[in-house]
């Protein structure tokens, strides 16, 4: 007996079809459901961004993510509907990261750096197995990324890893596109030098 198989599609709610701009506008009017929807859409992106910025074992990723979306809530009324939402969101994320860095510096960041670098160093044991080469390269890239100056790291993460357009990144960081290209180029050069130096 042959039975007909009906594919199960996830049901699309109304919220999932609303554009980001409309959700931000609703946030500006005090709609918390819209904020919830925005969080569900973008919290992974923000986690990924902060993982690359601070390291994936950073303990405060939750708080940072929460701060970003609270920034969306409190600044929603200032959002210009024609500007790209991702650029605006990442602009908030970058500002939150800067504030966090400043407050961390006040709290004796030296200790944190000491322990975090020590744990990261232990992860890079050279392995003879070929399958692990890519993983090792990724770990080296991760280390090199963490050593990159912050202004270069932000640009590299947004342009290369998050694959945002240069103009969007310029909007997010409030810089000129030419500055973004220059920083991206510098970041690539520095990363390449560090990774190649590590391999030798």
């Amino acid at each position: 007996m042959s039975s007909k198989v009906i594919p199960l599609c996830p049901s699309q709610t109304i919220e999932s079809t609303i554009s980001d701009q409309a959700l931000v506008a609703a946030c500006g009017l005090g709609d918390r459901a819209a904020l919830s929807q925005l969080f569900r859409r973008y919290h992974r992106d923000i986690f990924r961004f902060y993982s690359r910025m601070f390291g994936h074992q950073y303990p405060d990723l939750d708080d940072l993510c929460q701060k970003v979306f609270f920034g969306v809530w409190s600044g929603a009324s200032k959002y210009k509907p024609h500007s790209p939402f991702r650029a605006w969101l990442y602009g908030i994320a970058v500002n939150v990261a800067k504030q966090h860095r400043r407050s961390e510096r006040r709290r004796f960041e030296a200790f944190r750096n000491f322990f975090s670098t020590k744990t990261q160093d232990t992860q890079i044991d050279p392995t003879p197995h070929d399958n692990l080469c890519a993983k090792e390269l990724a770990l080296r890239a991760n280390l090199a990324l963490q050593k990159l100056p912050e202004h270069l790291r932000v640009v590299y993460i947004l342009c290369e890893i998050e694959e945002m357009a240069g103009t969007e990144v310029a909007t997010a960081l409030g810089a000129r596109p030419g500055t973004i290209w220059r920083r991206l180029h510098e970041a690539r050069k520095t990363l390449k030098t560090q990774i190649e130096g590590g391999q030798q």
Partner: protein, 404 residues
């Protein structure tokens, strides 16, 4: 790495084009240049390695917990205010500050000016009032020790004949312009009018006049017709010169403003076109080609005579090409060559048209477009055109070479 050839684009430019996804513009060069290929490959490896770096994926429960905390935080904080109210709040504070400052100036300035002017002249008046001729009528006023401004203003209200503002009397020059000194006379002036003129004018006039010898008659000059400072006040000549300078400069300042008012509207139209162009181009850069094509089309219709018309046409054609509408794109590229043949983008348009024509099997048009590209000043475009020509059209070159 091999050293780069001189025709290679700089690394920063290559990086920018790679990020913007415009490497197909450099494809003819990249096919030949090993150094650039290697550079791009290394960047690609680096990108892949960076994207493979570990990142913390939040668990569903963790995300739910953060969301709950976030919502709780929104309930505990005040709801977001529209920026209008915040602006109004600042405007209100600014207006209040400006108002209070203005009020303080109104209350403070007459008092301050009185102090500045009267103090030295009172001293000279005290010395000069020893002359018996002047003692008679100056005595009642010098007995009063610096009456307040409010009292003098009350007195001016009683006498409407010489009612003018107190501040105008503060200035010595204004005092003379009003030709009050001839009205008062010197010896026969009634005390009523002198009181009316206030302390400042009175003390100034006394300071200058009472020092004369007893038998000498005073000859006061007639009231000056022009508002310039008279020569009579030689003791304050250096100060006069300083005071006259801004008066002389004032007309220049009033003449200048009309010029920017006329010039302002000119850049606004051009700026509007440029802004729209940037918006449309950003759509193109965001790979939103169909909307970019629509935006460029609207712009092309509205800004036909603009200086950006050639660029608008080219990028409209590129947007159509990217959105896989080859036929209208080819028409627009052809139009670029025919109408905007002198533009910077004409040679690129020729290359694109040649490729489209070759794909469509129209070798005549391809040859015509390539002949256009081969004449371009840019060696890269010439090289690309030559390569295309040799690849597809070299067999019957003599027959299909178009007339320029």
């Amino acid at each position: 790495m091999k050293p780069k050839a001189p025709q290679c684009p700089p690394s920063s430019k290559l990086s920018q084009m790679a990020n913007e996804g415009r490497l197909d513009e450099l494809q003819p060069h990249l096919n030949d240049c090993l150094a650039c290929q290697k550079q791009l490959r290394s960047w690609k490896r680096l990108k892949e390695a960076s994207q493979a770096t570990p990142w913390a994926r939040p668990h569903q429960l963790q995300a739910q917990a953060i969301e709950n905390k976030l919502l709780a935080q929104t309930y505990s904080s005040p709801p977001p205010q529209p920026p209008v109210y915040k602006d109004l709040r600042w405007w209100g504070a600014g207006a209040l500050a400006a108002g209070s400052f203005g009020l303080a100036m109104i209350l403070w300035v007459p008092q301050g000016q009185k102090d500045i002017i009267t103090e030295p002249s009172i001293a000279s008046a005290k010395i000069s009032t020893e002359a018996p001729q002047t003692k008679q009528w100056t005595a009642p006023y010098l007995e009063k020790k610096q009456p307040s401004c409010s009292k003098s203003s009350q007195k001016t209200q009683k006498l409407p004949a010489l009612a003018f503002s107190h501040t105008s009397l503060n200035s010595f020059r204004d005092f003379e312009q009003q030709s009050l000194i001839p009205q008062l006379g010197f010896e026969g002036a009634s005390s009523q009018y002198q009181v009316q003129l206030g302390e400042l004018a009175r003390v100034h006039s006394l300071a200058r006049k009472v020092a004369l010898p007893q038998n000498e008659q005073l000859e006061l000059p007639p009231a000056p017709t022009q508002p310039k400072a008279p020569k009579k006040y030689k003791h304050s000549a250096p100060k006069r010169k300083k005071a006259v300078k801004p008066v002389a400069q004032a007309p220049q300042e009033t003449v200048e403003p009309p010029t920017p008012v006329v010039q302002k509207p000119q850049p606004s139209a051009q700026e509007a076109v440029e802004d729209t162009f940037v918006t449309a181009f950003s759509l193109y850069q965001q790979s939103n080609y169909s909307q970019a094509a629509i935006a460029f089309e609207k712009l092309a219709n509205s800004a036909k005579n603009s200086t950006l018309a050639a660029d608008i046409n080219y990028w409209r054609a590129m947007s159509l090409l990217k959105s896989k509408q080859q036929a209208p794109a080819a028409q627009l590229f052809k139009r670029q060559l025919l109408k905007y043949g002198e533009s910077m983008a004409a040679a690129k348009a020729a290359l694109q048209l040649a490729q489209l024509s070759l794909a469509a099997g129209d070798q005549e048009e391809a040859a015509w477009a390539l002949s256009f590209a081969k004449r371009d000043a840019n060696p890269k475009i010439r090289h690309a055109a030559e390569k295309l020509w040799q690849q597809y059209l070299s067999t019957d070159e003599t027959q299909k070479a178009p007339s320029p």
